[in-house]
Symmetry: C2
Subunit: 198 residues, 2 copies
């Protein structure tokens, strides 16, 4: 609650719904926007309208772009034989920032979760199986988060696909720049089990 | 950098300019907005346009509202004799949330700062002196932040006004719910100096 007029109050409430922003940071953000209303708030609102009108999920992989088939699925240069399975578009962007994977993606839209009653049919797993069968795929790389739900989902997908295609997952171990003293036991255990000859 | 289309990239860059949001949280916020483009992004853009078109600074106190004279300056019920001086509109909102002050405000728009070369003329100090002389003010309450720049500004204003009007400032001491063990030395010193009979 502030003493601000109703429109500004509404704007603060909407901004507070964004992930990472609470009521206090939403107030700060809105004050900043108001101070820069000419150079920031109006262009930001315009861009939001543009994106809201044009952004859509790729019909093939569920990546977000402004076309029915996203640039990654449409790129002829990218290898057709490999699909990297991620939970969310944010994970796809993270993979692309690393710039090392040259295949295509499949965004599940979440993970299996007993608690939230999310089953295989609620995710894009049937579409993944369909793609494996129709796109001449040789390898499915599971890049799911190293959480319990992420790993459960990885096991489920591996079960479904391993008789059709090679299924791999990202290596687990010590992150680059990581210090052992700050790592959790699970990571150290995984890194030790997967140790390799230098 | 993401692999997202240009419009989405632009939106992320704009969002990352908001206080409290960095590139990573801006990406998360934009993905959330795209997923909820119908129910959140479009209404948010509309509200931003409305606020950008209507919000303005009060000509008297620099509070932000949708009128040339803000509701607080316009309210006949509020005491005319007291002015509470704050650095920023966010501080005015914080005072109003406490709901205890019934006078009017004056937003300086910052603090004096030798480092940033901000002098009295860059703040709304001349307007404050003008208001003290014309609005029949009996008390100026300095509610500036307890930072070095805030306190320098408070001393400067007190020097300018003390021969015309009573100048007070917020008490310093132990915050309600505060534990001594977690307080800095300066706060404990201030609280001890200002101790009072129980």
């Amino acid at each position: 609650m502030t003493d601000a007029p109703k429109e500004i109050e509404t704007l603060i409430e909407m901004m507070a719904k964004l992930p990472g922003l609470g009521p206090r940071s939403a107030r700060r953000a809105v004050l900043h926007l108001i101070k820069k209303r000419g150079v920031l708030m109006t262009p930001l609102a315009d861009t939001m309208h543009t994106v809201a009108a044009t952004a859509r999920e790729c019909l093939n992989c569920a990546n977000i772009s402004v076309a029915d088939i996203c640039p990654i699925c449409a790129a002829e240069k990218r290898s057709n034989g490999e699909i990297c399975v991620v939970e969310d578009v944010a994970d796809l962007w993270a993979m692309e920032r690393a710039g090392v994977f040259k295949g295509r993606y499949h965004v599940l839209g979440g993970t299996l979760s007993a608690l939230d009653a999310i089953g295989p049919a609620d995710l894009r797993i049937p579409k993944l199986i369909d793609r494996v069968e129709t796109e001449n795929i040789t390898e499915v790389i599971l890049a799911l988060n190293a959480t319990i739900d992420g790993q459960t989902t990885a096991h489920y997908i591996a079960d479904q696909l391993e008789h059709r295609v090679s299924v791999t997952s990202l290596a687990q171990g010590v992150p680059i720049g990581g210090e052992l003293d700050y790592l959790d036991d699970g990571t150290i255990t995984a890194a030790l089990k997967a140790r390799k000859k230098v």
